[in-house]
Amino acid sequence: MQRKRVNDIKATISEMFDLPKDIVLDLPKIIMVGGNQILVENHKGIIEYTPDRIRINSSIGVIRVLGANMMLKNIGQDDIMVTGTIKAIELLS
C-alpha cells in the first residue's frame, strides 16, 4: 500500500515536470527498430533465452519476445539488445 502511494506521487511529479518515467519510476523502456532489433532498458535479468523465445524480467512483469534466430547482441547491467527476426512482444504481468 505504502509502495503504491509512493509510486503514484512519483508518477504525478514526473508528469508535472515532464521527467522521463523510465528513470523516475524504474520502468522498462522498450525500443524496437523495424522487425529485427529490440532494445530493452532497465531490465531485471533474463529468464529464458532460446533462438525463438526470449523472456526478460522487468519491474512491470515479464517481457516475452517471440521470433526466430534471435541473438543477444549486447547484455549490460541495464540494457539488453536483441537482434533477429521478431514476431511478437508480450507483456506478462
Binding site: I47, L72, Q77
Partner: protein, 386 residues
Amino acid sequence: MIFIRLWNYFVGYLVIRVKGLSLEKFINLTVSKGIYLWGMDRESYTSLKACISIKGFKKLRKIVRKLHCQIKIVEKRGLPFKTYKYKHRKMLIAGMLVFLVIIYGLSAFIWTVDLEGTEDVKPDLILSKLYESGVKPGAFKGKINTEQIENQLLITTPELSWASLEIRGSRAILRVKEAVEAPDFVKREGPANILAKKDGIIDSMIVLEGEAVVEIGQTVRKGQLLVSGIIEHPDTIGIRYVRAMGRVMARTWYEAQETARLDEVYRVRTGRTIEQKYFGLGKASLPYKKEEMTFKEYDLVSKKEGLVRIDTYYEVELKAWPDNLEEAKKYIEKSTEERLMQEIAKGTKVVDKKLKYDIIEGEQITGVLYLELIEDIGIQEDLTIQ
C-alpha cells in the same frame, strides 16, 4: 557502443562457449557482476556462444564454480593476440624501428629548395648563392640559420629587396621580392635641347619646358631638333636659355628579316612522348618507371626534382619546309618577333604588325616583319652657348 567495441578490439577479447544446464542464470550472474557480454548466440539448449573481455573472463571463475558449467575459449580476437604472433619475429620489429629511425633521420635534411617570386632575375643566380650559403638538397637542417642567410643574401644580391627563407619539413622555400632599379638622376642644370633619336611621325607631345619646334603629324628624322632650349619670343626681352624637358611620342617602325631554306629539313614534335623516371643521385640512380624506346628521332628533356629525375623523350619528325609553308611562315614570324622584342623597350605599345613574305619556289622563303610602335623618341642634349 562503437567505442566499447573499438576498445575491446584494442584490448583483446575472447569468444567463449558455455556448456551447462542453467545458462540464463549464468547470463544474469555475469551481468549483475558488471561483466559485459555481447554477440550472444544460443547454439543449443545446453550450449551458448558469447564474446567477453579478457578482464571479464578472469572474473568468471567464481560463477563457474557456483553453477557447475563448463567454459571453453573458442577464439581469441583483437589486437594483442594478433601482435602476439609477431613476438618471436624480432627482425620484423627491428626493421620497423630501423624504418622509423631512417624516416626521422632523413627528415632532418633538406631535400628540395624552392624559389618563389623571381621575375627578371635569373633563378639560377639566386639559387647558386643560396647553395653557397649552405641551403641545398642534402644539407642538415639544424645548421641553417634562416635569418642570417636571408640577410647575407640581401647584402650580396642587390637585385633583391626582400627575402624570406622558410624551412617546412624537408623543403626549403625562399620567397623573394625583386628590387625596382632606382631611376637615373635627371640632370637639371644647364640648357639643353631635345633631339629625335629615331625617325618617326610625331603622335603627341607634352612639353614641360622649352619651345616645341615640330608639330603633331610631322615626320622627323633622326637627330632632328624637337624641342628647343633657346626661347626667342617677341614678347620677352632677349633670349632665354632653358633646359628643354618633355615627352615626344612618335610612331616608329621596326623591321626584322628571316629566311628559311625550303630545301632543308626541320624538326617537328609529333606529340608522342616517353617518360623515364629515375630515383637517386647521379650514377647511383635507379629507374622506377621505364618505357621502351621506340622513337628514331627525339628531343630529350631532363628534369630534376630532388632525388627524382624525369627524362622525357619527345618524338620528332623530320620535315621539309615545302611540306608545310604555313609552318615556315609561323617560324619566321616567331623568330623575327622575338628578335624585335629584344630591341624594343619594355612596355612600349605596339600599334600595328605587318608581315611580308617573299617566296622563291622550292628554294627559300624570306619574311619581313614590320612593327609600328608609339614611343618616346626624345633625347636631351646639352647646349653649349657661345
